[in-house]
Symmetry: C2
Subunit: 344 residues, 2 copies
Amino acid sequence: MANDGGDNMEFGYRQAGVGLDRADEAVHRIRRAIATRPSQAQGLSAIGQFAGEYALQPGTTLLAGADGVGTKILVAKAMGEARSLGVDLVAMNVNDVLASGGRPLFFLDYIASQRLDPDLVESLVEGMIDGCDQAQCVLLGGETAEMPGLYAPGDYDLAGFAVGLKVFDGTPCQVGDLVLGILADGFHANGFSLVRKIVQDSQLDYHARYAPIGNMVLGSALLKPTPIYVAPILETLRRLPAAVRGMAHITGGGLIDNLPRALPQHLGVELDRQHWAMPELMQWFQQLGALSFEEMVHSFNGGIGFAMIVDPRLAEPVVSLLAGFKLKVEAIGTVIESPGVHWK
Amino acid sequence: MANDGGDNMEFGYRQAGVGLDRADEAVHRIRRAIATRPSQAQGLSAIGQFAGEYALQPGTTLLAGADGVGTKILVAKAMGEARSLGVDLVAMNVNDVLASGGRPLFFLDYIASQRLDPDLVESLVEGMIDGCDQAQCVLLGGETAEMPGLYAPGDYDLAGFAVGLKVFDGTPCQVGDLVLGILADGFHANGFSLVRKIVQDSQLDYHARYAPIGNMVLGSALLKPTPIYVAPILETLRRLPAAVRGMAHITGGGLIDNLPRALPQHLGVELDRQHWAMPELMQWFQQLGALSFEEMVHSFNGGIGFAMIVDPRLAEPVVSLLAGFKLKVEAIGTVIESPGVHWK
């Protein structure tokens, strides 16, 4: 399998297309380490979730997650672009909090580089503010570290942390519930080590325009930031509280690893791949890399950015409401009795 | 000035001994970026603080901070040690939340490397659990990222994030208040780029034993984890609520940059350097690097790990209480009318 950068694992440990064995082993080790400490039982319950839950007071539960943007950083570096990556960093974190039923409250960042570049920091922070505004949360703090000897000149890494307030618990999913998928508009911030490998193997130029993507500049198309689903999803939960039964942010590990997290363990989904199309950019990379459909929905988001499990009787108003936010939504499958992701 | 890894800046933007111009400029840019967005006013107020404040509900304020461990990572790598670094990562974050008056609730981590190493991850997580147990908080989640092309084989970076509940607001400091310093037991997790430079320039071997540090192995002495001050300080606040008027976690930027944060802008401190001694290890490195006292208290913690501004009438019971936690405390100075740090 190809190598996938970014969230190979997460507490809510998610695995990406690659390093699967290593990720499995690491999760096993972490689970074991935490399980031996009764003091840390609350942390253990967070493994496998999109965000960790912390019961602050009766009726007040906080949700928190940590995430990065993987090696999308290296594409941004090649393009001399950083602001959109700041948006990605916020998106990766707040969408996870959202999928766990949280309204994002605040966000913090970590920027590490060999040598502090004020222009870079400013662009990244501008992007994070853009993201926080979209997520209706506050950029509350951060750390910028100079790490000579660890990063190569011009290289940097980013980590983000988001905290939210739990506002949605979900009715248990049932067999026959509908899976609604919000169509992705690109790779978002996952699978970029594989994306970069395909660019390299195909001798593509990030700065060139290519016909299969409507003559867009490749680097710009790849850097399109991950959408922040906070406003439309919170509005859906507010206006149609009985409709939504579960949510999944489709990141590292794709539909295969992320959809089951929205479901109880004894249920699964049957998806119909005829019901949606991947974005042009993703279809083109599938051809270039000679990747199977299975790889596209495991190493990448497979064309779905966020999924909801809904009461089939209320699917129509959910789709209309999201359309009002200019989100394209398709019914991509149904909940079935057999755990995991199955294909029609 | 020498180069200092780690927290050159923080929201709560702190500057380390080096890259001061770059750090100043970056803070200026971030301040400007945030100031132009009314939606982000709450974040702006966090700049210059140890942790950002978020008013969740009337009477419930959250505190959150992000921090790393700088290039102490490279010393740990050289020694094949990771568990103590997990403790450092928690310490750097929870002590910041503590200095802002917060009781830590939970912690999250970000571990990035070229290739996931389950043994490394396990050691780091064991250390983080040790740290979270000491800080009486929960390891709630994290992210482990594989970043081929960004990190060299065997290298990794760490970021941590802590959230606490504000339990202490402090009486305003007054002229004549006493500055109590908790003696540091080493470099903690700051100034390691300068430490590494001195090791290199002096041709020291991390694995060798040296007489000036009581024949300890150099690498082990350097890797001693940052103390977690949560239990003793929370006990002090509980038992002697009227005694403490301000607190400072002495990290990047040393006493010079961190003490003023515990004070209102119009006040400063006068310190008496005769009142405490730096640890042997630090004294030795001062000689090796031919560093001035001023550099020791700006690039390093200067021998003070955590400081408290206290009512002079209640200093005695505070010192006794902390002694019960095996912490050595000295009265290192007093609050004066002139802003900044002055020397007797």
